[in-house]
């Protein structure tokens, strides 16, 4: 089994990404609930932040994929 360590790394990356996505989504929903009139801006910022976070997670996963 060559991919074992890489698979663990990918799993850790996904845990981190999951925590990040949960934070972003939860806070965005809270913010929209507090100020529904700003929901458009909040949604845009949420997607942008999620994309940044996901980029970091995907680098880890692709490294695991290619090196493992």
């Amino acid at each position: 089994m060559t991919g074992t360590l890489a698979a663990i790394g990918a799993g850790l990356a996904v845990i981190g990404a999951g925590i990040g996505l949960g934070q972003i989504g939860g806070k965005a929903v809270e913010a929209i609930a507090r100020q529904p009139e700003a929901s458009g801006d909040i949604r845009g910022a949420m997607i942008l932040m999620a994309a940044f976070m996901e980029g970091a997670a995907l680098i880890a996963i692709l490294l695991a994929f290619f090196i493992g």
Binding site: E54, G55, A56, L58, F66
Partner: protein, 457 residues
């Protein structure tokens, strides 16, 4: 609208150039093949007849644990037979299906041959159709043409002499030998089995052009592959759609939009009002708006094209080469338009003590390159991951069905795979739009950061 066509075709031409260079094969990535020259220990490690290398353990060849394997001892002409590996390998299947290919396969039944444009140093440019290989199951070619054979949908060149003047010969199958070199690294060497003998073929690299050890091929494959053909088709489709919309704007001044116009107008307006204006700025966004629209529709079109079931599972935007070209375009445009403030913030951050600058400047410089790198990885990773997830769910059928042995297992697999696949495809449909939007939005924010005015200093 005319600007959109222009940048669309610039984009297409650039992508074409780079994709044509991409020789995506199957999963040899990560393994170091660079020590695979004929002079090193590697090949003598192959050759059981040379017993003088007492320092290396020749018996430790790992043949993958299969019940019976070919014992290939020389690169050219060892006796070998075609081995049908029993069992189902989900990851190899997934990689094969998301790779680019020299043949357009629809449902493993219809194979549309593609033109081949090959350049090699010995014979110059060569043109032929990939139907010469007569690809069958797994897109393995049944016949060879000159010294080219088709393995898993990709053209490979035989390393052995004696085939260059043969136009048509039968290829029984392919085999991959796993072995370890003196340093203990794993190697995989592909062989074509022709007339009961194994002949080594060149590796094809998947994503790095051989820079990270995949081995550079002795020929350049400039042919329009499955991905390139998809790109051309999608670009032509958008060309006609936008032409129609542009004509409608000329003919129907002051009237409500109609037909395809009413689909495109809100999308264009959305990109303008939610992406271009907030991130680049009112009055400055017009210069970059055609580029942003081109990027958005190019990615969106190809994402959706890859979602069409049974249509060859094209993975254009999931290919790192395509996304690399898009990222390079964004990188060049944002940096060439970078103003004084942009460069000052990279090399000489104002209002920061000198000892912080020693750390900050390298970080900012790195960030300049990491931005397009993440653009590239995010899109390719998301789209490839979606394709792999769908293929894995479809693979459940074969895993439960024990590769076609068990009927009850297959039915269970189908019952699980269909809802999971539909669910995944629904998610992928959202991802197709979100990723096109995110790429455009980040491109706009990078361009916006480069041309931003800093009045507060």
């Amino acid at each position: 609208m005319r600007k959109i066509f222009l940048s669309l075709f610039c984009c297409l031409a650039l992508s074409f150039c780079l994709v044509a260079q991409q020789n995506s094969g199957h999963s040899h990535d990560g393994h170091d093949h660079s020590s695979h020259d004929h002079s090193g220990h590697d090949h003598s490690g192959h050759d059981h007849s040379s017993h003088d290398h007492s320092g290396h353990d020749h018996s430790s060849h790992d043949h993958g644990g299969h019940a019976h394997t070919n014992n290939i001892t020389t690169p050219c002409g060892s006796a070998a037979q075609v081995i049908h590996h029993e069992g189902y390998d989900p990851s190899a299947t997934a990689i094969h299906h998301i790779s680019d290919a020299n043949v357009f396969t629809i449902m493993d039944m219809i194979r549309i041959p593609l033109p081949m444009i090959i350049y090699n140093k010995d014979r110059g440019l060569e043109f032929f159709m990939s139907s010469k290989f007569s690809a069958g199951h797994h897109d393995d070619g049944h016949y060879g043409y000159k010294d080219y054979v088709m393995m898993h949908g990709n053209i490979h060149r035989l390393k052995c002499p004696g085939f260059a003047d043969q136009d048509h010969y039968e290829v029984a199958g392919f085999d991959v030998q796993k072995h370890k070199d003196a340093a203990g690294k794993d190697h995989e060497t592909p062989y074509a089995i022709i007339g009961g003998k194994a002949y080594e073929i060149e590796q094809k690299t998947i994503w790095d052009g051989g820079l990270l050890g995949g081995g550079i091929t002795s020929f350049y494959d400039l042919s329009p592959t499955k991905n390139v053909v998809s790109m051309i088709l999608v670009c032509l489709l958008f060309f006609f759609l936008f032409r129609k919309a542009a004509k409608a704007y000329a003919n129907r001044v002051g009237q409500a939009p109609s037909g395809i116009q009413s689909f495109l107008e809100p999308v264009v307006q959305f990109i303008r009002d939610d992406v271009a204006v907030p991130f680049i700025g009112e009055g400055k966004y017009e210069r970059f708006f055609p580029l942003l629209l081109t990027i958005f529709f190019f990615i969106l079109g190809l994402n959706l094209w890859g979602q069409v079931p049974f249509l060859g599972s094209v993975n254009v935007t999931g290919s790192l080469t395509v996304t690399a070209v898009l990222a390079i375009i964004v990188f060049l445009i944002s940096n060439f338009n970078g103003n004084k403030h942009y460069w000052q913030h990279i090399f000489n951050m104002p209002g920061v003590p000198w000892f912080v600058k020693i750390i900050l400047t390298p970080v900012e410089l790195l960030g300049m390159f990491i931005k397009p790198l993440t653009l590239m990885l995010r899109l390719a990773g998301n789209i490839s991951a979606g394709h792999i997830a769908i293929l894995s769910f479809v693979g459940l059928i074969f895993i439960f069905g024990n590769a076609g042995q068990s009927m009850a297992g297959s039915i269970t697999g189908v019952a699980m795979a269909i809802p999971l696949t539909i669910f995944m495809m629904a998610i992928e449909l959202i991802v197709a739009f979100v990723q096109a939007f995110v790429f455009t939005l980040l491109a706009a924010s990078y361009i916006g950061a480069a041309i931003e005015d800093h009045d507060h200093h």
